[in-house]
Structures are given as structure tokens and as C-alpha cells.
């Protein structure tokens, strides 16, 4: 058992490391220029070279990307030291046509930053020859690089929208999301067990067939459509005041209070989103619970139990039920992942300041530091959920407990 858990923990580390590398690599391919957006937000003139270079260095963008780099031999060791994007793209074009960086660096230093027309200047000067054969060279940058700094600050960056720490924003959002998903998970699992058992015990009654049909139909309803319909019909006076049961969307903000205080004081507004999420996940988990209990009742040990003279209550409660609960652990894990995905849509519809809405807003505003912080944090949370699921599964199944 111990060995299994340790093995499982050891697998997590490379997985998270790979995710962090992928997230970092993706963050280098974003379509927008972070520095100029930040300058625009601060109201500084975008074309000023000095201001641009200062912000660029403040964000640490002048450092090399990774611990090492493999570049053609005529490239500079660290291309990021060229601050201005126009200069950078011109230098890259010249490098890609085969000019040596030593030739280019002289020209850069001698001329104005912008509007270099580097390739024309180099092409006119016959002293500078194009390189024919490119050979790769390995450059070792050491610890002082952007990836290392990102990792040791726990994926923290500066949000370009308000200049706050990305990790703090993500932490606040995560509290909202986790409280919604946890309540949903607990409610839906408990209800699924009760309803699933009821459906199996009374499986030959007509109303039970109706309920399972209904659950099947609910299972196919898109969550965001259900939420939209609830918002339209149940939060406004447009269709008669008696349908206006729930408070309108949007959270009350209490400035200066902790996130937990805000969540508790908005509890009445969270009822409808949690209801949506619970109905949605309930349909899925109840179907699964019913299926696993029915499967369990068809096994030979059940007929043995009946032949011993036990009542059907005893057989179901004491024999079949425990074994049928085993697959529910898998469902717990899947439902947790689904709840995260579902809460993203609900947060947008009900304007809850959770992690999903934060992600969407950050994408709209090109706030990539926050986006990739969210990606890594969400990956950590999901991995931990999968780990808990695996460990629970091992604990619940004696066979696995002793084998591993």
C-alpha cells in the first residue's frame, strides 16, 4: 500500500513538470505583445523606446527562455536582449537570411532603433556575406532564465490588467470554484446513492421507469442551456411575479472583506448555480449507481445469499450495496473533473468571480500571465483529485491493498 502511494506520487512529479514546460512554451507563442498592452494600460506612449525597454526588463523578458538553447551558430546566445519588437523582428529576418549576428549588432548600435531596414543595409554592404551552411550550437544559460524564475515564484506573474499578482487572483477565484464544486459533489453523490438504491429496489414499479427515463433526458440537457433557461424564467418578473423565485444574477461585492466572507454572504445567490450543477451531475451519477447495483445483483453470490434465506433488504443493504459502491469512487473523480468544467460555464452565466470566469476574462484581455497560472493550478488540483481517487480505490479494495 505504502509502496503504491509513493509510486503514484513519484509519477505526479514528471507529469506536473511536463505540464509546466508545455504551459511555458505555449506562453511564448501568444499572439499579443504583453509589454505594449501594459504600456497602453498605464497610458504611456507606446513608441517610446526607453519606457518599453524598462517595462521589458522589469518583467524579466530580457532573460533567456530556458536553461539551454540550441541555435544556429551565427545567432546570438540570447536573442531576448534586443528589447524592441520591431528591431527584434528585423534582426530575426536578417539572421534567417543568413547574416552573422556580429555584423548586425554593429549596425543596430550605429542606427536608430526603429525603421532599421536591416536587410537592405546589409544587402548593400558587400563586406557582409550570407552564411551558406548552418550548424547548430548548444548554449548553456544556467539558472538565470525566465522558466526557472517562473517556477520558483510558483507560476506567479504580474496581471497586466491591474498589476496584481496572478497567483493571488487565481487563489481568490479558486475559493469560489472549489466551494461550488465541493457542495455540488457532496450533494450529488449522496443523492445519487439514495435515488439509485431506490430505483433498483423498486425497479418493477411503473413510476420508477418514469424516473429513470426522466434522468436519461436530464442527462442529455446541455448544462449551459439549462442554466440560461433557469435565469430567464426563474430570476425575472417578465413571466409573472410568481416565477421570480431566485435572486437575480451577479454577486454582491463587499470591498475589503476576505473571499470566504464574500462567499458566505452571497450564499443565497449561489443556490441556483449549485442547483443547476447538482441536477446535471445527479443524472450522470444516479445512472451509474443504478447500473453498478444492478450488475452486482446479477452475480452468483447474491443467489447464495437469497438461498440462505435472507430478505431482499438484507441482501441489497449488506451484500450488494457495499460492492456496488466501489465504482462510485471512479464516479467521484470523473464528477469532480466534470464539475470544474461545468462551473466554468455557470460562473460566466451567473457572474460568479470564480476561476473559470477569471480564465475567460483573462483570455479576452490577453492577460496571459494569469491564464497560464490558472492552467498549472488547475492541473495541480485535478492531479490531486485523481490521486485521491486512486488511493481511495486501493483502500476500498482489499485485493489491491495487499497486492501492491
Amino acid at each position: 500500500m505504502k509502496r503504491y502511494v509513493i509510486k503514484r506520487l513519484l509519477i505526479i512529479i514528471p507529469t506536473l513538470w511536463i505540464i509546466s514546460v508545455i504551459a511555458f512554451t505555449l506562453s511564448k507563442f501568444v499572439p499579443q505583445d504583453q509589454v505594449s498592452i501594459l504600456l497602453e494600460k498605464r497610458g504611456v506612449d507606446n513608441s517610446s523606446d526607453v519606457a518599453y525597454a524598462n517595462v521589458y526588463k522589469d518583467l524579466g523578458l530580457d532573460k533567456p527562455n530556458f536553461y539551454f538553447a540550441i541555435v544556429p551558430s551565427h545567432y546570438p546566445d540570447n536573442i531576448n536582449i534586443i528589447t524592441h519588437p520591431v528591431t527584434k523582428s528585423e534582426v530575426l529576418t536578417a539572421l534567417k537570411s543568413g547574416y552573422h549576428y556580429n555584423d548586425i549588432s554593429e549596425t543596430i548600435n550605429n542606427s536608430n532603433y526603429i525603421k532599421l531596414r536591416l536587410t537592405e543595409q546589409l544587402g548593400g554592404n558587400k563586406n557582409f556575406e550570407k552564411l551558406r551552411v548552418w550548424t547548430p550550437k548548444l548554449v548553456w544559460h544556467g539558472k538565470d532564465n525566465q522558466y526557472h524564475n517562473w517556477i520558483i515564484s510558483f507560476f506567479n506573474g504580474v496581471s497586466i490588467v491591474d498589476g496584481k499578482s496572478a497567483l493571488v487572483k487565481v487563489g481568490k477565484g479558486l475559493q469560489w470554484t472549489l466551494s461550488i464544486t465541493l457542495i455540488d459533489l457532496i450533494l450529488s453523490i449522496i443523492l445519487a446513492i439514495i435515488i439509485g438504491k431506490y430505483l433498483v429496489i423498486n425497479q418493477h414499479k411503473k413510476r420508477v421507469r418514469w424516473i429513470s427515463q426522466l434522468l436519461y433526458f436530464i442527462y442529455s440537457i446541455p448544462l449551459f442551456w439549462m442554466a440560461t433557461m433557469f435565469v430567464i424564467y426563474l430570476t425575472t418578473d417578465d413571466y409573472g411575479s410568481f416565477t421570480n423565485i431566485f435572486p437575480s444574477v451577479g454577486m454582491n461585492i463587499y470591498p475589503g472583506k476576505s473571499t470566504l466572507y464574500q462567499i458566505i454572504h452571497n450564499a443565497h445567490k449561489l443556490i441556483l448555480p449549485i442547483l443547476c450543477l447538482t441536477i446535471h451531475s445527479l443524472a450522470y451519477s444516479t445512472r451509474f449507481m443504478r447500473r453498478s447495483l444492478i450488475d452486482e445483483l446479477q452475480k452468483p453470490y447474491i443467489s447464495t445469499a437469497y438461498s440462505k434465506g435472507l430478505t431482499s433488504d438484507q441482501v441489497i443493504n449488506k451484500h450488494a450495496f457495499r460492492n456496488a459502491m466501489m465504482p462510485m469512487i471512479t464516479i467521484f473523480v470523473t464528477a469532480a473533473a466534470n464539475a470544474f468544467a461545468g462551473s466554468l460555464l455557470l460562473e460566466v452565466i451567473f457572474s460568479i468571480p470564480g476561476i473559470g470566469r477569471l480564465l475567460l476574462n483573462s483570455i479576452y484581455q490577453a492577460d496571459w500571465n494569469v491564464v497560464f497560472c490558472i492552467v498549472v493550478v488547475i492541473a495541480c488540483v485535478t492531479t490531486v483529485i485523481y490521486l485521491i481517487g486512486d488511493i481511495l480505490y486501493t483502500l476500498a479494495q482489499p485485493k489491491l491493498r495487499y497486492d501492491a
Binding site: 509519477i11 514528471p14 507529469t15 511536463i18 505540464i19 505555449l26 507563442f29 501568444v30 499572439p31 540550441i70 541555435v71 544556429p72 529576418t93 534567417k96 537570411s97 548552418w134 547548430p136 433526458f217 442527462y219 442529455s220 440537457i221 446541455p222 449551459f224 442551456w225 440560461t228 433557461m229 435565469v231 430567464i232 424564467y233 430570476t235 425575472t236 417578465d238 413571466y239 473533473a337 470544474f340 468544467a341 466554468l344 460555464l345 460566466v348 452565466i349 473559470g356 480564465l359 475567460l360 483570455i363 491564464v371 497560464f372 490558472i374 492552467v375 488547475i378 492541473a379 485535478t382 492531479t383 485523481y386
Partner: protein, 374 residues
Amino acid sequence: MMHKLRLENWGIKKKHSRALFIFMAIAILHTFIANDKYIIGTTDNGIGLFVPVADNNSGLKTIIPYSEKSIDKKNRSVSPFDSQDVSSLYYRHWLGTDTIGRDVLAGIIHGSAVALKVGLFTTIIALIIGIFFGFLSGYLGDHSCRMSITALILFCIALFLSIFYIYYSISAWKWLLLIIPIAFLIIYFRFVNYRVYKGIAIPLDIIILRTIETLRSIPSVFLLLVLLALFSSPSIWNVVIVIAFLRWPTVTRHLRAEILKIRNEDYITSAKASGLSHFTIFKNYILPLTISPVIIVSAFGFASAILLESSLSFLGIGIPLDQVSWGSMLRDARLNLSSWWMALFPGLMIYFIILLFNNIGDSLTNRIQKLSNQ
């Protein structure tokens, strides 16, 4: 041969196959059903397809005289039951209009084309990638794919150099460099290392399983949003590619589990002993027996792809903002809480299509369970 192609033989109910047929027909013929132009019409210059409606033009009209983008300025956000300012019943907006006067029914019909496109192409791409990786991880596994040390080193060098020059070159033909490592692999496994049981075993199964696990650890909607935001221009094909990229692990997982059940059967061993190539064995002996769960997964995958696409359009990410889909209609509905018809009908369409594909998946599952019990 023809009778084998009937969907009923796969256990799909007749009403479901009919509904599927109607959905496909509407999606394919959407421009001929709802359009503000004549399908075939005469103008001053002669006969043509899709002639705009004007005083001196005449021709064959469509069933619904509105396209998804045509704006009726006189009828803005009218409900299906309101009195509408239209010249005849033919021009009535049967399912109402939205706030700028676009017909909801026409939008639904054009949205079905988007849904079919996303569902179909996502499923096909996910199937191709999924079956390929299923072959690598399930059939070849950790021990069957062997390369000698020299070949492995040569391959690594070729791969590294081709990626290096592709990344740093500006030539338009640079992608052809990828042929070198691929051709190396094909030639090596086809002619040089044909059935040689020595060298280093490449742990394909472990590599692919770890990749799947890594992909699984980020909830798909989150990953989808981030990946789509990286594309500089929105397009429906980006959505298709990214959803397919997230769907293939499901196909691979199911195929791999099935292959592991039959991989060590005697007839596979004798097929190997008789000298058949891995590809032939996989195609003729493995795939026909293991494809059924993959088809079931694809039916559910179709539904989930449509759901994902509509959620994305609902959030306004992925497909272009001016393209009408079911999700984008729901996005407009969220901003106008008093127009219930804008939310009800597109949502019902998504619901019915998802229900249809879930039902088809369930029927297939039942059929295959019955067959395997026989």
C-alpha cells in the same frame, strides 16, 4: 451487400436512424432550405443560382425566405405568437426573431450545418489519430517495437536536424524535411529490421499512456479555451482540430483495452509465425474484433463534440463571431432575458441532437453486448 449497410442491423432504432437522416439532410441542404435569395432565378443577364430577390428578378423560392444573416428591420425581437408586420404567412417568422431582426428558424437551420461539420470531422480525425496510437500502444506495446542502437541514434539525429532546420528556416518548402525521419522509419521497419527480435525495445505503451494522463490532468474546457485563444484568427477548423486533439485519447484508451484482451490469443501468434506483417495482422485480425467499442465511443464523441462547440460559441471563443451557430444564438439570448424564444429553440436543437447521439450510442452498446453474450 446493400442490406448490411442499414443502420437497423446495428441495433439502431428506426426512429433514431430517421432522425439522423433528417438532421444530416437539413445540415447538408441548409442553403437550399433557408435563404433570402432565389435558388434558381432569372435576371436581366440570364439564369443563375442564388439570384438576389429584386423587382425584375424571378425564380424558385426557398421554404424559409430568410438566411441566417438577413435582417428584417420591421420585425425586431418578435415572439412566435406576436402579430408580425409581414406581407403574407410565407414571410412569417415562425420561431420569432432576435433583437436585430434575424429569423430564429433560419439560424437554427444554418447552425445545424456547423454542428454536423464539427461533429463529423472531429470524430473522423479523432478516430484516425486514436486508432493509430491504439495500434502503437495496444498492439506493438512495450516490447514489439525494437530498433538497433545505431538505427536509434541515426533516427534521433535525423529528427533533431529536421526539426532544427524547419524551425530556423524561412523557405516555403521546409516542411518537406519531415519526410526524412518518417522515410527513415518506414524503410527501417519495412526492409532492414523486418521481424528482428533484438536491439532496444521502445516503450511505446508507456509513452502514450503518460501522454494521455498528462492531457487528462487539465479539464478539457479549460485546455480548449487556452489552445483556441492562441490562434490569431478564429475559424471553425481551429475548433475541429483542437476538439479532435482532445478526443483521441478516449478512442486510444478503449481500443487499447480491447486489444490487450485478444493480443495473446493463439491465432494472432500463428499469424505472426506465418510471417504476416504487423500492419496486416492489425488490419485483418485485430481491428475487426476490437472496433465495436471504438464505434460506440465515437457516437458519444459526436454528441460531446457538438456540446463542446456550442459551449464555446456560447462563450464567444473559437468560431468567428459573425457565424451563426446554436451556441452563439444562446449567447445572444442570455443578454435578452425577456425573449424566451431565443433561448428555447436553439437549446432544444442541441438537446435533441445530443439525445439522438446518446441514444444511438446506447443502442450500439446493447447490440454489441448481446452479440458478445451469444
